[in-house]
């Protein structure tokens, strides 16, 4: 039997008396695809960050190929052949793909000589693994999933032997499913072990050779997905029965009057560089939304569905058309901004990938204010610390956020818990229109169930909900109507009852090829 490619033994880690990991051990066999699942805040990310040297454990040992090592920094982890793809974006968009990959590469020999060599080697790897981007384009020109692949390419360049994928959402999107499969197979052939951390249980169940379950900082056990059902797997993870896929929310019965009416909406893209050619981000969108309706906006990434949400939330200006919401008429020139939107009763939870819903440096109690500081809490124009603390704590209990410490820094919460707090904030103000972008990205299945329940309740009270999601199961279990976007146009509107998941998936993919 070969020694495990990477092994973490008896890891303990706590942050300010909050225990993140307790005697956690994990062992990655060479050339295997190893899944890691657990609820939000269970400690998956902490464990992976320890394996990549980003944080140091309080106690415990790390072995690479059977030899004990100490990982004090990512550099040391990289030297031991460990690579990682992170949950949240951090690239230098102004630099080229090549420069991003070579960012921290030790400089050896003459500069240009090294560049040529590296270029050649990268080009070879790029072809071998079928990455479609060019090495010389700026990072900002790539879409999200390609950017994640740049990280993969960097790891490959450095001779990675254990590649950790921490919630690689963009790669797990349905449109990328085949691609990811191929990639994993290629990696496996090269003898590279892959660790995938994700909440997409179904995907992991299919892909992985073995799955480790973590619950509240402890490793519960290892599952062989070939012999354990998906249902049993989710039960192990959450500790109670969960229906998967999530059952369909009852379709809306009391469809009210038109709440939101969009006519001929048009948005120009920003002028790129010196060329004054503008791409239309949205063209001629017509959509009426009734009170008590839940509408999904689907399409391949960057097809315009995000832009529509941003426009409605007042984050992006529009250049033509009209939006009528309740009694308010919103026109291109009406200085419509996000604070207005909030006054009108529109709430917005942005895409968690872009990390703009909360401020990492604030405490959670402060973060929960953001956007609503004028409406709530104010007494003589002052913010009341105690009241804010209480409100935050209450929300944390309601939404099952762990640890329930309002005074803890926002950035220290796990990704899923941050997203729960963003949703808690937006839900708590009883919006008449709720805009959600990837509402359950990074959220565990147990919490998703609660979120769906709350969305349902909100809809029953007569609010409308517009959401973007790349998760078609989610779309199918929530939406009353589904809008299909392609290249900035709204090409088709389905009634959810008249379609099924396969047909929807086909339509999404078909739009991509019909250019």
């Amino acid at each position: 039997m070969l020694a495990p490619a990477l092994e973490l033994r008896h890891i303990d880690k706590s942050y300010h008396a909050v225990e993140a990991l307790n005697d956690a051990s994990i062992s990655i066999a060479p050339g295997s695809i190893h899944g890691v699942i657990g609820e939000n805040g269970a400690g998956k990310s902490s464990l992976m960050q320890i394996a990549y040297g980003l944080i140091q454990p309080d106690s415990g040992e790390i072995f690479v190929d059977g030899a004990k090592v100490e990982l004090l920094s990512p550099l040391q982890a990289i030297e031991h052949g460990i690579g990682m793809l992170h949950q949240k974006a951090s690239w230098l968009e102004q630099l080229s793909v090549f420069d991003n990959i070579m960012l921290a590469e030790p400089v050896t020999g003459f500069l240009f000589q090294q560049k040529e060599k590296a270029m050649a080697k990268l080009e070879l790897l790029r072809r071998e693994f079928g990455f479609e981007f060019s090495l010389s384009v700026k990072m900002s020109q790539l879409d999200y999933s390609q950017r994640q692949l740049v990280d993969v390419l960097r790891s490959l360049y450095r001779g990675v032997r254990v590649l950790i994928l921490d919630e690689p959402l963009a790669l797990l999107a349905p449109s990328q499913a085949d691609y990811l499969n191929n990639l994993l197979v290629l990696l496996k052939i090269q003898g590279i072990s892959v660790v995938v951390v994700s909440h997409k249980l179904a995907v992991l169940h299919q892909l992985c050779d073995v799955i480790t379950v973590i619950r509240t900082g402890r490793v519960i056990g290892c599952i062989d997905p070939h012999s354990v059902s998906l249902r049993e797997m989710s039960k192990q993870m959450v500790g109670r029965e969960i229906n998967l896929p999530h059952p369909r929310v009852e379709p809306s019965k009391n469809k009210g009057k038109v709440l939101l009416d969009i006519k001929g909406l048009r948005v120009h893209g920003a002028k790129t560089g010196r060329k004054s050619t503008t791409k239309l981000l949205l063209r001629d969108i017509n959509l009426s939304v009734h009170a008590g309706e839940m509408i999904a906006l689907v399409g391949l990434p960057e097809s315009g569905q995000d832009v529509l949400l941003d426009v409605l939330a007042g984050m992006v200006r529009f250049d033509g058309g009209a939006i009528d919401f309740l009694q308010y008429a919103i026109r291109p020139k009406s200085r419509y901004k996000i604070n207005k939107a909030r006054d009108y009763g529109i709430a917005y939870a942005p895409n968690p990938n872009f990390n703009i819903g909360l401020v990492d440096q604030l405490t959670m109690a402060e973060s929960v204010y953001l956007g609503y500081q004028k409406q709530d809490f104010g007494r003589w124009g002052l913010l009341s610390g105690r009241q804010r603390h209480q409100t935050c704590h209450q929300l944390m209990m309601e939404w099952n956020v762990v640890p329930a410490l309002p005074a803890m820094q926002t950035g220290l919460f796990s990704g899923g818990n941050q997203q729960k707090m963003v949703l808690a904030r937006e839900f708590s103000h009883q919006p008449s229109l709720l805009l959600l972008n990837q509402p359950t990205h990074g959220v565990d299945v147990g919490a998703i169930e609660t979120i769906y329940q709350r969305l349902f309740e909100l809809r029953e009270q007569g609010s409308s909900i517009l959401f973007c999601s790349t998760d078609l199961d989610e779309v199918m279990s929530l939406a009353d109507r589904i809008c299909l976007f392609s290249h900035g146009e709204l090409t088709e509107i389905f009634n959810a009852e008249d379609t099924d998941r396969t047909r929807l998936a086909l339509s999404v993919i078909k739009e991509a090829h019909d250019v």
Partner: protein
């Protein structure tokens, strides 16, 4: 305005812009790496004192310049120790550097030389020599010759070093992997760390180079342009350099031009003193002229450059 020579004005502008240029380039290196450099003023002062003091003691101006760079780097390291190693607040630490520099230089100047806070006046041999250009163009009255001999030739060596630095630094940021690393440290430290780079090492390297360049700026004041150290002789030049840096949006070549612009304003202020602007006795009060560069700085910074494009993680402590 017959005796008013534009050529002489520009000549003065180049001389006055040089210390600003060094300081602004030093500030650029440090701020590109994400460390706010309020302490430029203090480091300039330290450089100025160290250069003048060492030169007057040892008699060698080159040694003086080395010592100036060394002392300025020491102050940079103090700043770095506070805000890189101990993750302190960069603005507070920078102000501390300024106050400390002012106090230390005055104290030492008084104690060492007992000349009321000045160092002994350096004679011509103890100052930086002027560089005369080769005789490619004859000295005559044509504009080309005037330009060559009056404007370009005859400055001291640091002026040319400054210009060279602009070129080197632009190449550094454009083509070198180290440049990308410094850029990353100021723009997205997380990306740098995750790629396996060390934020602390990168930032220390940047501020050490910045400190050395800033030392040159001070040395230019006391042993290049001037002939000795006078208490608080930088009088806010470090802050003007900081303004020039922001004005230029942290880009080396733009920094050259913004420093020349501020140098020109200063030269104009000096030139206009005692110069009848209008027919008859219409003289502008000196104070009004002296305040001109500062007022224009405010106007320029407020209105003419659009949004400032600071490195995103400037002041970020992690």
């Amino acid at each position: 305005m017959n005796d008013f020579s534009w050529l002489l004005l520009f000549d003065a502008a180049i001389r006055l812009a040089t210390p600003l240029l060094f300081a602004a380039l030093a500030g650029m290196l440090s701020e590109r790496a994400g460390i706010i450099d309020i302490g430029l003023e203090g480091k300039m002062l330290v450089g100025a004192f160290a250069a003048a003091a060492w030169t007057s003691i040892s008699g060698s101006v080159w040694e003086g310049i080395m010592v100036a760079m060394f002392c300025s780097v020491a102050f940079s390291l103090l700043h770095g120790f506070a805000c890189i190693t101990h993750k302190g607040d960069q603005v507070v630490s920078g102000i501390a550097v300024n106050m400390l520099a002012l106090a230390v230089t005055s104290l030492l100047a008084h104690r060492l030389f007992s000349q009321g806070g000045m160092t002994p006046v350096l004679d011509k041999l103890e100052r930086l020599p002027e560089v005369a250009f080769p005789q490619w163009i004859e000295v005559d009255d044509t504009w080309l010759s005037q330009l060559y001999w009056q404007l370009l030739s005859g400055h001291n060596i640091l002026v040319y070093v400054g210009l060279l630095l602009v070129v080197l630094l632009s190449l550094f940021f454009k083509y070198s992997p180290y440049g990308n690393r410094v850029f990353a440290a100021g723009e997205n430290p997380k990306a740098l760390q995750r790629a396996g780079g060390s934020l602390a090492t990168t930032r220390y390297a940047a501020i050490i180079c910045g400190g050395a360049i800033c030392g040159l700026s001070g040395a230019f004041l006391s042993v290049g342009h001037g002939a000795g150290f006078v208490e608080n002789m930088t009088v806010g030049k470090g802050f003007i350099a900081l303004a020039a840096l922001i004005f230029a949006k942290w880009r080396p070549v733009a920094i050259l031009f913004s420093c020349l612009f501020f140098g020109l304003l200063e030269a104009l202020a000096i030139r206009l003193q005692g110069h009848p602007l209008f027919k008859g006795d219409g003289m502008l009060p000196i104070q009004l002229i002296e305040v001109l560069p500062y007022v224009l700085t405010v106007i320029v910074l407020a209105g003419f450059i659009g949004p400032s494009l600071a490195p995103k993680a400037l002041g970020n402590r992690r």
